[in-house]
């Protein structure tokens, strides 16, 4: 009897050990904004329950510029600790060598995603990352304030400037001394490149560097757009805006201290959260257009993907995780809870999403027309191009030279950097 028990015990422990050997221990890095990490943990818990693998999150700073430096360093050193990376839409050409090709593993589901997004993650026929969500920013505006002061949603940046100033002045006169007109991402980092690209493109000033590699940034439309933005600092935008990233600007907005706010859709569900003072008091619209012949509303294409490190000791389990995180099921949850835009076309017609996050079906068209950053034509040089661009813009916003002067220098610097070809 005793012997039997012992045997049973021994046998079960052996099976447990054998079972554990199959389950992988994975790590995923994530530098997310808002409640992103919490959401990811919830999804990973489900994944763990379904597959028996365990997944650890390695949190990172939310600035994509900071993340990139760290990832680059890890990947160059062949780090085996991290299996799955969350990657920005612009990184595919720069990190392609370090990630596994997912095209075979994802063959069955590729058609569900928007082709342009799959294409943005494909480098020389290699699918570098699976899309998790896409992004295109919006103009957030306070419906209550616009109504109170009898204003309509601005269609152009000039109109936005005027409306913001009027409402801000009126609110301040009523004793609301903390009120600002417009907050955006003005710190010198990738986010400023996104903001400024929108201003420039909306004024018909091109895309910094065009798809064929021509440097187009030094033109009067671009200068007019950036000069207008520079006039916001200290008038309708606080001076501190020069140091804001997504979360700092959302802080001002979500406390109810701004009339207009430029941010990605994730701020929509956070702004409508239970503890948010502005819940139900705001709505979103496409970003304003510029003035001039080619003026249009422009939104920078963003979005995040999941990639598998080629140094992962457990590539199969890691690919399983990447596919799971980009699946329709997770994307729907993401849409409902995080107001992140799905990359799976069918989800835009999903009734639950339309009811829970009305911003998403409305955004389908906007993101289809979104402007990509010039990461494809500039390849490995993209980060430096972006840094030169955001520095020129940040200088202008800080009052350090006019847009025309700074863009002229920028063009020369970009030409130097380009050399014979990108």
């Amino acid at each position: 009897m005793k012997m039997n028990k012992l045997l049973v015990g021994l046998l079960t422990s052996v099976t447990l050990v054998a079972g554990a050997a199959q389950a992988a221990e994975l790590s995923i890095v994530s530098g997310d904004t808002g409640t992103g990490l919490e959401f990811l943990r919830g999804q990973l818990d489900k994944f763990e329950a379904d597959t028996g693998h365990s997944v650890t999150i390695v949190p990172m700073p939310s600035s994509t510029t900071d993340q990139f430096g760290q990832y680059k360093l890890w990947l160059a050193a062949g780090n085996t600790d991290i299996d799955v990376y969350q990657t920005d839409v612009i990184w595919a050409p720069q990190l392609a060598d370090q990630f596994l090709d997912l095209s075979e593993a994802a063959a069955g589901v590729l058609d569900e995603h928007f082709p342009s997004i799959i294409e943005s993650q494909t480098v020389n026929g290699k699918l570098v990352a699976m899309p998790a969500f896409t992004d295109a920013p919006a103009l957030f505006y306070r419906t209550d304030l616009l109504e109170k002061h009898g204003k309509s949603v601005p269609a152009t940046w000039a109109e936005m400037t005027e409306t913001a100033k009027e409402i801000m002045d009126a609110e301040r006169a009523e004793g609301n001394s903390e009120m600002w007109g417009f907050v955006f991402q003005g710190n010198a980092y990738e986010g400023l490149t996104c903001n400024a690209l929108e201003w420039v493109k909306s004024y018909g000033g091109g895309q910094i560097i065009e798809a064929d590699g021509t440097i187009s940034i030094n033109n009067e439309h671009a200068a007019a757009a950036i000069d207008l933005a520079a006039s916001w600092i200290g008038t309708i935008s606080p001076e501190g805006n020069l140091g804001y990233m997504e979360e700092e600007s959302r802080g001002v907005w979500q406390l109810g201290n701004a009339v207009f706010h430029r941010n990605w859709p994730y701020a929509y569900s956070l702004g409508n959260g239970e503890d948010s003072p502005i819940a139900g008091k705001f709505d979103v619209a496409p970003l304003p257009a510029g003035d001039g012949p080619d003026a249009r509303s422009a939104a920078t294409l963003g979005g995040w993907n999941v990639a598998v490190s080629k140094y992962s000791p457990d590539p199969d389990a890691a690919i399983e995780l990447a596919l799971y995180l980009s699946s329709a099921e997770v994307q729907k949850e993401r849409a409902l809870m995080q107001s992140n835009l799905p990359t799976i076309e069918a989800l835009y017609d999903d009734a639950d999403i339309a009811a829970g996050q009305p911003i998403i079906p409305a955004w389908k068209e906007i993101f289809q027309n979104a402007v990509p950053r010039p990461s494809a034509p500039t390849q490995a040089n993209y980060n430096e191009v972006s840094s030169l661009f955001w520095s020129a813009v940040h200088d202008t916003l800080s009052g350090n030279g006019s847009a025309a002067e700074n863009l002229e220098v920028l063009e020369a610097d970009l030409t130097d950097l380009k050399g014979d070809s990108w």
């Binding site: 160059a76 501190g240 140091g243 200088d395």
Partner: protein, 326 residues
């Protein structure tokens, strides 16, 4: 240290021939030094040499092992255009680099100057005998004990233009007419960094100076008092000369530290040209821009600039690290 400075130790005659015992001790000392030297070679020497080597190659982070020799091209290279104009390129003619050098040197000198004066004052106060001196001494070290990244983040919130306590206080007390974005504004960003650095490292300076102060024999002051020397004169004629060796060593420690400032700037201010230092620029090129060789060249030059300034300081200031006569 102080007694030796006063020349008492130098009076002992040096033995002409080393005894067997002394030689044995010397051998033992060398033996004990070997592990430390080996550790230094691995953790400091090897990375240093490798960085210098990479600065003469075309290395990028994705092909470190395949890096090829590039000569001094990262530092300076030139091409002659068809018109006959010579175009210079490379680190030595890179305005971004010299701007960073200027930022760094300016930061280092201003911060160390303030820290030396304030550290001296704090040390003098702590050297006086009063009740609860032990607690005050411990308390004053707190800023220095907090990791820089943590204190930088803490200050970033205090300096925040919308939610920051400093702006709030300034507005309430009527010192500010409107909220100031201390770290975001190019004009005030460097000042903000300086203030945080001085707050953080004055205790360290004070600690080193205090150690020097406590080596000064009390009887000198008693003698001075009997002779009726004014306290201010006492300070300049007795305290300052006797504490000088300790102060000079403290300054050089801080100077070395300040010249490679990275964390405070990186956390506290936007990534703009007005506050970028050599280390920040080197990191950016090494990792963000995929120009590992160029970044290595920056690191190498940073090393040389720090070495040059240090040697200059030791030479001009006649610093003696052993505290004795040469």
């Amino acid at each position: 240290m102080a007694t030796e400075t006063m020349g008492l130790a130098a009076t002992a005659p040096a033995p002409r021939e080393r005894s067997e015992l002394t030689q044995q001790r010397l051998r033992a000392a060398r033996l004990f030094l070997i592990p430390m030297l080996a550790a230094l070679a691995v953790v400091a020497g090897w990375p240093l040499i490798r960085s210098i080597y990479f600065s003469f190659t075309d290395a990028s982070l994705s092909n470190l092992d395949a890096a090829e020799w590039y000569g001094v091209g990262n530092y300076l290279r030139w091409s002659v255009l068809e018109s006959g104009t010579v175009r210079y390129r490379g680190l030595l003619v890179d305005p971004a680099w010299w701007n960073a050098v200027w930022n760094t040197v300016r930061f280092a000198f201003i911060s160390v100057a303030f820290e030396a004066v304030l550290g001296m004052i704090v040390a003098l106060v702590l050297n006086a005998e009063f009740k609860g001196r032990g607690i005050v001494r411990a308390a004053i070290l707190i800023p220095w004990a907090i990791p820089t990244v943590v204190s930088a983040k803490m200050w970033a919130w205090m300096l925040n233009d919308q939610f920051g306590i400093l702006n709030d206080l300034g507005m309430r007390l009527g010192l500010l007419s409107q909220k100031v974005a201390w770290t975001a504004n190019a004009d005030t960003a460097m000042t903000a960094v300086l203030v945080v650095d001085i707050w953080k490292t004055t205790p360290f300076m004070a600690l080193l100076v205090l150690a020097g102060l406590q080596m000064i024999p009390k009887d000198i002051y008693e003698a001075a008092e009997i002779d009726g020397v004014h306290p201010i004169k006492q300070f300049f004629r007795i305290t300052l000369p006797l504490v000088r060796p300790a102060l000079m060593v403290a300054i050089i420690f801080r100077l070395l530290d300040a010249l490679r400032i990275f964390d405070l700037i990186y956390v506290l201010t936007p990534n703009s040209a007005s506050t970028k230092t050599m280390s920040v620029l080197a990191r950016e090129n090494l990792f963000d821009f995929d120009k590992f060789a160029y970044g290595s060249a920056m690191s190498t030059l940073l090393f040389l600039i720090i070495a040059a300034l240090t040697i200059l300081y030791i030479w001009l200031g006649q610093v003696r690290f052993d505290g004795g006569d040469r």
